[in-house]
């Protein structure tokens, strides 16, 4: 499929799922009235539901999905490994730790943005640690090792917080938050995440040509005029912005950043530069679809988004591995 056509199809898919996300919900507003409420503000209750509940939810699903897809494609391209995912370098784990600390200490209840801000602080600490451990320049293997170390540390500290939590309710609150969800988010969350995602997305989008050159290895890429030091900093900074902000809003949502680039790679002729844009759109579509599904499958049980993406993503990934093996790659 030609690349512009592919992007067009994916964009249409995102638009369709975005509309569907706006129209699905427990309030059961018919589509015509829902749109009238959203656009013209007709009906007090409907307007409130559409503008304050469903719109931010759909926007966040699209933004976070796009972030995960983009960061996943960039990470896989940089590390030249289809098993890489945005969480690999420990950003999402550290952001989750920041949020967990906010929940544990009660800071999260102080004001609306306390939890996401604490999560972002966690992401910033992770970036500092990664740069300290892996250095500003160096091979991809040091970045992977630094990421694993930071992830493990964040995981251990999160477990410690759970371990020491004063009562089962506090522990349950933390566990449920970590499963990932977009329920009960507001436009405030959208405005908090948007600048980080725009900056991070713009940073990651500049990596295209360097990622293409890296297909030939680090030495060959360097002699093609690519600055590996700059790429590494941009990758870490961009991923921290988009994944840190995403995790801060929704909790940890796995598998999107891993599976979406994997699915779309054959369609873009395996070019890492093209995979960036395609995966961003694909990630948005997949998270929108997943967020619609959690509302349709078990509307009264609050099925968590991260649980669903893992339930769908893991078998999908197994299938992809099987297919890859059959092709002898």
């Amino acid at each position: 499929m030609r690349f512009p056509l592919l992007l067009g199809v994916l964009a249409l898919l995102v638009a369709g799922l975005f509309a569907a996300s706006l129209l699905v919900g427990p309030a059961g507003i018919v589509p015509a009235r829902a749109l009238a409420a959203l656009i013209r503000g007709e009906g007090v209750a409907e307007t409130l539901v559409m503008r304050e509940i469903r719109l931010p939810r759909a926007l966040l699903a699209a933004m976070i999905g796009a972030s995960l897809g983009l960061a996943g494609a960039a990470m896989q391209g940089y590390l030249r490994n289809p098993l890489a995912e945005p969480g690999l370098i420990g950003i999402s784990g550290s952001a989750a730790l920041g949020a967990v600390l906010a929940l544990q200490t009660g800071v999260a209840a102080a004001f609306v943005l306390a939890l996401p801000l604490a999560a972002m602080a966690g992401a910033v600490v992770a970036v500092g640690l990664i740069l300290l451990l892996a250095g500003r320049s160096g091979g991809s293997i040091t970045l992977i090792l630094a990421g694993i170390a930071v992830s493990a540390m964040a995981g251990a500290l999160t477990a410690l917080v759970l371990n020491l939590s004063p009562n089962p309710f506090a522990a349950a609150e933390i566990v449920f938050w970590m499963m990932g969800s977009l329920a009960d988010r507001s436009m405030t969350h959208v405005w908090l995440a948007l600048p980080f995602m725009v900056v991070g997305g713009a940073l990651l989008a500049t990596l295209g040509r360097g990622l293409d050159a890296l297909t030939l290895g680090e030495d060959a890429a360097a002699t093609l005029g690519v600055s590996l030091t700059r790429m590494r900093l941009v990758l870490i900074g961009g991923t921290a912005c988009v994944v840190g902000a995403g995790t801060a809003i929704s909790g940890a949502i796995g598998f999107i950043g891993l599976v979406v680039p994997h699915i779309l790679r054959p369609v873009v002729g395996a070019r890492p530069s093209r995979l960036l844009a395609a995966s961003a759109l694909g990630g948005a579509a997949m998270l929108l679809a997943a967020d619609i599904a959690v509302r349709l499958i078990l509307p009264e049980r609050d099925l968590k988004l991260g649980v669903l993406t893992a339930l769908v993503g893991a078998p999908l990934f197994l299938h992809l591995i099987y297919r890859t093996r059959r092709e002898g790659l």
């Binding site: 050159a213 030939l216 093609l224």
Partner: protein, 252 residues
């Protein structure tokens, strides 16, 4: 015109120097075979010259900024890496990156260079094949075509003939010699001394990080040098077919 100039170059791997005081100049029109036993410093010399690793001393290439360097020299590493299942033409097109402004798509001039490289490496029938599904030797040819498409005055290659069948090895050496005759320069590390003697205009022999010999192949490849550096004896003849060099035995 010198395309590569090294003076008093030292490079270290860990605590010990693996290159000692290398001074070397390669001019347009030369096809230089870089010879030496394993661990003599051939790869290190080329990587240090390119500025890919820390070194002391001067290298005209390492002194260039990275975009200017990418238009001055193409580098073919020994590790033949094609990370993703791209088609052959896309891989070769990567060689044009130094000639494109950010966001610019390959134009007519780039197409000419890409087509020329594809034809030279005999890859016309492979354009749409997935590069990672080709045999090792075919992948090597794709990567050589990528370096040719970069269209630089100087080409540096680390053991480019490794893993190629005899016909492809000879074809590649003839291609490099032809490239040099057209006014470019090629520096290639080689282990096949026979190929080097027949095709290179000049050989540089490295031994434990120092230049042991440098000159025309028939002048350099003496029994004494072969014994000292490679610990081998060889048969060396010059006939109507050109120079013939055959390693014979090991000196224990």
């Amino acid at each position: 015109m010198a395309l590569l100039t090294l003076s008093n170059l030292y490079a270290a791997r860990g605590p010990c120097d693996v290159l000692h005081d290398i001074s070397l100049s390669v001019a347009a029109g030369e096809f230089v075979g870089l010879l030496g036993p394993n661990g003599a410093g051939k790869t290190t010399l080329m990587r240090a010259a390119l500025g890919l690793m820390q070194s002391r001393g001067q290298s005209n290439l390492a002194a260039l900024d990275r975009r200017a360097r990418a238009r001055a020299v193409a580098w073919l590493p020994q590790a033949r890496e094609i990370a993703w299942p791209m088609d052959v033409e896309t891989v070769i097109t990567l060689g044009r990156a130094p000639h494109l402004a950010p966001g610019q798509c390959p134009g007519a001039e780039d197409r000419v260079a890409i087509d020329a490289a594809i034809t030279r490496m005999g890859l016309d029938g492979f354009r749409t094949r997935i590069a990672t599904q080709l045999s090792g030797g075919e992948q090597a040819r794709v990567l050589i075509a990528r370096a040719l498409a970069q269209d630089t005055p100087l080409l540096m290659a680390d053991e480019p003939t490794a893993g190629l069948d005899p016909g492809s090895q000879i074809g590649l050496m003839e291609l490099f010699a032809q490239t040099a005759r057209e006014g470019r320069a090629v520096v290639a590390s080689l282990h096949d001394l026979g190929l080097a003697v027949r095709h290179c205009t000049r050989v540089v022999v490295l031994d434990r990080g120092r230049i042991a010999a440098d000159g025309a192949p028939d002048a350099v490849m003496s029994p004494d040098l072969l014994a000292r550096v490679f610990h081998i004896t060889a048969h060396f003849a010059s006939g109507p077919e050109g120079p013939v060099f055959q390693p014979l035995g090991l000196i224990r």
